[in-house]
Symmetry: C2
Subunit: 378 residues, 2 copies
C-alpha cells in the first residue's frame, strides 16, 4: 500500500517516544505533530496565512461536514480541498464515522453501513465504507482514514460486534481506495478493553495500511484507560509507520501520549476553548485532568496588563494584554476569538515542536519530568 | 487651537476636490482617507496587523461604547486606547453624541447635556460636553470631536433648537479640552436645511477648531440633500483645515463627496456588510443609490471559482473563490467574516488612494467620469 509520494522516516526514539518525518504530496510533516481541526474547510477564525505563521504543518478536515455542505463533488469540481480552502500544506480527512455515530437518534447501523439524517436539514443519507472513501477521494486530502464505528467505550459485547464491523469495513476501504496520491490509515478500535485493542491492532496490521489511527478514545474513558489502550497497541503496530491518536488532546495529553508511542494528534480543544473565551496555558493543576486555562470572563483579568502567558511568542501574547482580550470576549468581538485561537494553537504546536526536539536530543524524559515539575510548582 | 503636533497641508486641489496630509502624534494621514470603524476598540474581525497590511492610516473608535465597556478610566489606566488595542497609528473618537441620541426612548435631552440608559445593562448615565471631552481625553485618540446633537434631519424648528444646543456645547467642549496632544474638531449640523448648515459652518469657524466634522447626514436624507449640505458648507469652512463627513459612505459616496470638498470619511458599511455576507464591489447599478454588492448567500456563487472582484489585490481575492467564501458565509464560519471584511475595507481604502492620486495629478474629474462610466457599462 505504500506509495512513492508517502514515506515515514522514524528518526529517533527515546523510550517509547518517537520522532519522525512523514512525506506527503503537499509537504513534509515532522512528528510528533498537533493537527489543528478545520471541520468545515476552515480552522475556525484562522486564515491559511495565519496557520502558516503559526507553523502548522498539517490540518484536519471533516468528511461528514463537507459531504453535507458544500458537498464533496462540488469541492472536487473546484479543484479539491487544498485549492478550495487555500491551504497548500498536507490535509487529513476523517471518515465521517465519528460524526455519523454521534448523531445517536438520527442514525441506523447495519452490517453494510450507516443511514443517517443530516443535522442541517434532516435529509437522509447513507455512508458505507466505499462511500466514505469516494467522498474522501473527492475531497483529495493527503491522508484519509477508514470508515469505522466509534462505539461507546465501556460495553464489552457491543464493542466486540462493533469491532467486527470496523474490521470488515477496513478491508472494504482498502479495496475501494483508488487514488495513489492519498495515504490510507486504518483505525484501531476496541473501547476501553485491552484485549480488543490488541486484537484490533493485530488485525489491521495484518491487512496493512499506510499508518494507524487509534480511535474511540477521549470519549469519556479515564486517562488511565486511554493510556492502557495506547500501551497495548504500541508493541503491535509497525514501528516504521505513523500512529495517530484521534481527537486528543490537551498539552499534558501530548506529553503523556507521545510517551506511549503516538506520533500525530488532533483536537478541537484549542479552537473551541478559544471561542468560549478560555486561553490554554502550559500548566495543569496537580491532580486535575482538565487542561489549564485562563477563563477570560473572570473579572480578575479586567485590569491585567500581562499577556495570556508570559514568555509566549505568539501574536496575541506579544501585542495584547489579558485586559484587552477579556474586553473583546466580554463584548463578543470576533477579534477575541481570532486572537485567543492563535494563542491556543500556538501553544499546542509549540509543545509538539519542543517534544520533538527533546526526543531528537534524547532528552524526552527530562522534558516530560520538567513539564510535570512545572505543573506541581503551581 | 492649532498644536505643533498637528498640521494639515493642503497639497493640491482639483475643482473642489482636495488632497492633503494631516500630521498627528501617531503619524501622517494622507487625505482623502477612509477610516475603518473600530467601535469597541477593534475593527470587527480585523487585527491591527491586518489593518496595517491593508494600508489603513487612521481608525475610528466610539466613545459611547468604550465609556460603558470596558470604561474610559480603565483604558486610561492601561495606557490609553492605542496601547490597549495594539494600534500604533492615529485614532479618532466620536463624541458619543450620535449613539446617545440614537437611544431614542432611553435618553432625555436638556440644555446642559443628555441623560441616558446603557444598552448593555440599563444603568443610568449622563453626558455633558465636559464629560464627553473628559472621556475622550481618557481614551487619548489623536482626533476628538465636540459633543453635538444629531437631530432628525427634516424638522426645521427642531433643528433650530438642536443647533443652538450643538453650538453652545461646541464652545464648552473647546473650553473643556485640556490635552495638547489631541486635535478637536467641531461638528457642523443643521439637518437638510442649507441655511442652517451654512449658519453652523460660520458659527463653528468663528469659534475655531482644528478641523470640522459634518454630522447628521447619511441618516435618511436623499443623496441630493446630502450633496447640497456639503456644497453650502464647502466655501464657508477654512481651506487649510480638514473636513470630515461622519458616517459616510459607499464607494460612490467617496467619489461624490470628495468632489464636494470632503477629506475624511468613516462608515460601518464595509465591515457590517461583510458580516452579513455581502462583498462590496466598485460599481453601482445606474439609478441605484445603494452600494453595489455581491450577496454571497445567493446560490449562483456556489460553484463560482472567480474572486470577489477580478483584479482586486486583497488577500481574500488573491487566495479564495466566491464559492469558498459563500461556503464560509453559509456555514456561518468566522473566517468568512474576516475575509469579506478584509476585501470590503481594502476596496474603500484603495478607492480613497486612487482618488488622492488622481487629485495630485489633476485628473480627479477624469477619475470621477471613469468611475461612473464603468458603472453605466454594467
Amino acid at each position: 500500500m505504500k506509495h512513492s509520494t508517502f514515506h515515514f522516516d522514524l528518526l529517533a526514539t527515546d523510550g517509547r517516544a518517537r520522532a519522525g518525518l512523514l512525506q506527503t504530496p503537499h509537504g513534509e510533516i515532522p512528528t510528533p505533530i498537533f493537527m489543528p481541526v478545520g471541520t468545515q474547510a476552515t480552522v475556525k477564525a484562522v486564515s491559511p496565512r495565519d496557520l502558516n505563521d503559526l507553523g502548522a504543518r498539517i490540518i484536519l478536515a471533516n468528511t461528514y461536514h463537507l459531504y453535507l455542505r458544500p458537498g464533496d463533488e462540488r469541492i472536487a469540481r473546484l479543484g479539491g480541498l487544498h485549492t478550495f480552502m487555500g491551504w497548500d500544506g498536507p490535509i487529513l480527512t476523517d471518515s465521517g464515522g465519528y460524526q455519523v455515530f454521534s448523531l445517536a437518534q438520527r442514525r441506523k447501523i447495519d452490517a453494510d453501513g450507516v443511514t443517517f439524517r443530516s443535522h442541517i436539514d434532516g435529509s437522509e443519507h447513507r455512508f458505507t465504507p466505499e462511500k466514505s472513501i469516494a467522498v474522501q477521494e473527492n475531497l483529495g486530502a493527503d491522508v484519509i482514514v477508514c470508515f469505522d464505528e466509534c462505539a461507546v467505550p465501556d460495553d464489552y459485547d457491543y464493542n466486540v460486534a462493533a469491532l467486527a464491523r470496523t474490521h470488515a469495513w477496513a478491508e472494504r476501504c482498502k479495496a475501494a481506495k483508488s487514488r495513489s496520491d492519498q495515504a490510507l490509515f486504518g483505525i484501531v478500535q476496541g473501547g476501553v478493553f485491552p484485549d480488543l485493542r490488541e486484537q484490533s491492532a493485530r488485525f489491521l496490521t495484518g491487512v496493512g495500511f499506510d499508518g494507524y489511527a487509534i480511535g474511540g478514545l477521549s470519549v469519556g474513558e479515564t486517562k488511565d484507560q486511554m493510556h492502557q489502550a495506547l500501551e497495548v497497541v504500541d508493541p503491535v503496530l509497525p514501528t516504521d509507520q505513523p500512529r495517530y491518536l484521534m481527537g486528543v488532546g490537551t498539552p499534558a495529553d501530548l506529553v503523556e501520549c507521545v510517551a506511549r508511542g503516538v506520533d500525530m494528534f488532533d483536537c478541537v480543544l484549542p479552537t473551541r476553548m478559544a471561542r468560549n473565551g478560555s486561553a490554554l496555558i502550559r500548566t495543569v493543576a496537580p491532580g486535575r485532568s482538565s487542561p489549564a486555562r485562563l477563563n477570560l470572563r473572570n473579572a480578575r483579568f479586567a485590569d491585567d496588563p500581562a499577556p495570556l502567558e508570559p514568555g509566549c511568542t505568539c501574536y496575541a501574547c506579544t501585542h495584547f494584554s489579558r485586559a484587552y482580550l477579556r474586553h473583546l470576549v466580554m463584548a463578543n468581538e470576533i477579534l477575541g476569538h481570532q486572537l485567543v485561537t492563535l494563542h491556543n494553537l500556538h501553544l499546542m504546536l509549540t509543545i509538539a515542536r519542543e517534544i520533538r526536539a527533546a526526543i531528537l536530543e534524547g532528552q524526552f524524559q527530562a522534558y516530560r519530568d520538567a513539564y510535570w515539575r512545572m505543573t506541581n510548582d503551581q
